[in-house]
Symmetry: C2
Subunit: 414 residues, 2 copies
């Protein structure tokens, strides 16, 4: 196996140059966008090989879709890099500062983390996206992608490293792990003292495995079992639009709705209206007894598993609840802590829902699909944190930094 410790040490050394790089980072990001476009032919050729191999091994159609690049996706990667280049540099921000009575001047300053590890699955565009955000945040990155995308990832890595050198930065700011076996992921999780943080990007199983096995600090990014609660006072047409959007605009993403809760006082009116809208996209409903009594036989019974599921598909679990309290309790029990919405005209209930639901993003009268770095105006994101420490919700370059205290005096002792 590759010597990941040696790789991480090279990353640490490279990160020192990056910490003070300022405008060189922007130059490298713009050069990387150019290099990606210039290398389009090589990248697409490598991707064709990956796709052919994946087809031979019989991988699923959705995975093939995530793996496949084309001219548009390569252009998208390059534009993504330009977008990150255009963002404000988070490094160097003075977060707070004051002078103490003894004359000590104390400043809390935003600084890079150092070395960031990313473990991800089949989407090769993550290679460029993640590298760009880490670079912007002043950290070197060790990338470990899925085996299906290795040839593509190597071609992208080569372009990024050429761009770094063109900008006068160490190529080792971006390194791709060649070994895509389980062993290399395990080894990354144990690089204590070398990796300042490890971020898993992918499905629930990947994330769970990293969170449970890593010895290095981890930021858990989101799988989402997102809920929409239609309150007794909801505008039914608005509720139907929001549920339709949250469920069907892109079912494969973590901020899509997976579960619908409806107050009993509005269920007879709201459920048929919502179902009519969802029928346009042939969404399968799995409901509680009361839901089935209202909507009839076309609705399958919902199990405990349904209430906890992240379908990532045109399926929605549905439950009629007695009260706001029951809705909040249901969400507390089943939610992944990603995004939840209430549709209501009650000021008091909106206030209680936003205060008591303990998720990264809580909505009133809007679709959960907005939980996204771009939609929040934070720029490109590395993922959506569903943990509570360090960062919660969409994470951009700023969330990939730390701070330190700089204290200056003239001989103070205690």
């Amino acid at each position: 196996m590759e010597d990941l410790t040696a790789m991480a040490k090279r990353a640490k050394a490279a990160s020192r140059a990056l910490a003070a790089a300022g405008p060189l980072k922007t130059r490298a990001l713009l050069a990387a966008a150019e290099e990606l476009e210039r290398s389009q032919k090589e990248i697409l050729a490598a991707n064709a090989e990956d796709l052919a191999a994946a087809k031979r091994e019989g991988v699923s159609a959705p995975l093939l879709d995530r793996l496949a690049l084309g001219e548009t996706r390569v252009k998208g990667m390059a534009d993504g890099l330009r977008g990150v280049a255009a963002q404000e540099d988070p490094v160097g921000e003075v977060v707070s500062g004051f002078v103490r009575p003894n004359g000590l001047r104390i400043e809390k300053v935003r600084v890079p983390l150092g070395v960031i590890g990313i473990i991800y699955e089949a989407r090769p565009n993550v290679t460029a996206d993640a590298a760009a955000i880490c670079l912007k945040a002043g950290s070197a990155v060790v990338l470990r992608g899925g085996k299906e995308a290795l040839r593509t990832n190597l071609a992208v890595e080569a372009a990024l490293r050429r761009a770094l050198e063109q900008a006068g930065l160490p190529a080792d700011c971006v390194q791709l792990v060649r070994d895509t076996t389980h062993a290399s992921a395990q080894a990354m999780m144990r690089l204590t003292g070398y990796l300042d943080v490890l971020i898993p990007r992918g499905g629930k199983n990947l994330i769970r495995s990293v969170v449970e096995n890593a010895r290095v600090p981890v930021i858990e990014t989101g799988w989402g079992n997102c809920h929409i609660y239609v309150d007794a006072s909801a505008d039914v047409a608005m509720a139907a639009e929001i549920v339709f959007n949250a469920k069907t605009s892109r079912p494969s993403v973590c901020n899509a709705a997976e579960s619908l809760l409806v107050h009993q006082d509005i269920a007879r009116e709201a459920l048929p209206a919502i179902k009519a809208r969802l029928d346009e996209k042939h969404v399968e409903l799995r409901g509680c007894e009361r839901t089935r009594a209202i909507l009839g036989g076309g609705v399958a019974p919902a199990t405990e598993e349904d209430y906890g599921a992240e379908y990532l598909d045109y399926i929605l679990s549905v439950k009629v609840v007695d009260s706001l309290d029951e809705a909040i309790a249901h969400i507390a029990q089943y939610s992944s802590g990603h995004s939840e919405a209430i549709v209501t005209n009650s000021y008091a209930n909106a206030r209680r829902f936003t205060a008591e639901v303990d998720s990264a993003a809580v909505y009133v009268n809007a679709s959960t699909r907005f939980t996204d770095g771009g939609e929040f105006g934070l720029g490109a994101e590395i993922g959506i944190s569903t943990q509570k420490l360090h960062a919660r919700g969409p994470m951009g370059a700023k969330e990939l930094t730390t701070t330190k205290f700089i204290v200056t005096g003239n001989g103070q002792v205690r």
Copy 2:
């Protein structure tokens, strides 16, 4: 063994009441101060039993000292609670907020973590201090102290729980684990989904064990191998004062200096002056060859182990370095990332040292002993984070919170 999961569930339920408690938290903290003073006799009697048992088991004198309470220490605990009560409430702060072009109003709001676990050793005052800061931060706390202090901790816990009930809050906001075996610490580290964060407070071994074994999110608090670098342009008298203060004002704490680096151009002048000052407290020096050549036979040779040691005693390792670069590299190799200081009159070197030394607090011309919540004006602290994620440096109640996004709209879909 106790059912720690059930305990954590009770804590989670109690934390819901606490999240919106606002002024009730202040009332509970003031009541707790009263209760501690009112229960002084019971607390001291329990402490006497703990001390007697510890003496029978032959525990060391420093541990007995940390374990022992007296009227002054009980009063100190009560005053600590009043200090936390007087601090600003971090919960509810709107950290940032804006309206997006589509009319969505997005606010990032500071909210409690939920349930905090603390594993600590023999000092019973941690029971009151830690509970108070967690309460202020709106979180319930599960405390697991050392076996030597169990009787004292139970008496303190009882007083705190009475105060919570007097203030109309659930007593289960503060719970002490009765089982003080290794098994209960291990069980706490595995309360995934119940503990929002686990904080170890104590020596290097305790912290290492928790960081390496915990499955729940951990904040690593500091052991400190703090360095002082005396640059070529330093004021020698100031350097001697700072080293003397950082080493001897309280050698047993994590922000005390453990290692001295001196630039070769000033070593002949500075080392004897510093040694003369340290001799007043009989500090043992362990030096490199050049140090010993200058200071003579009284200085023992320093080993690799010395350079990495947290002595917590009147011992200091000393090394003469060729350059600022060597000093920075030495610190990068041996430091625990807590606090480091440069003594210099060079603007350029001060700037480089503060930029390139990667520690929680970096000082110019001041003692490392200032790294402390109180000295930084942050109020009471739960510990000093030496990790980079979530919080770095002294952590008060604010650092024990998280944020969530509250997004309000009028039917927005994506």
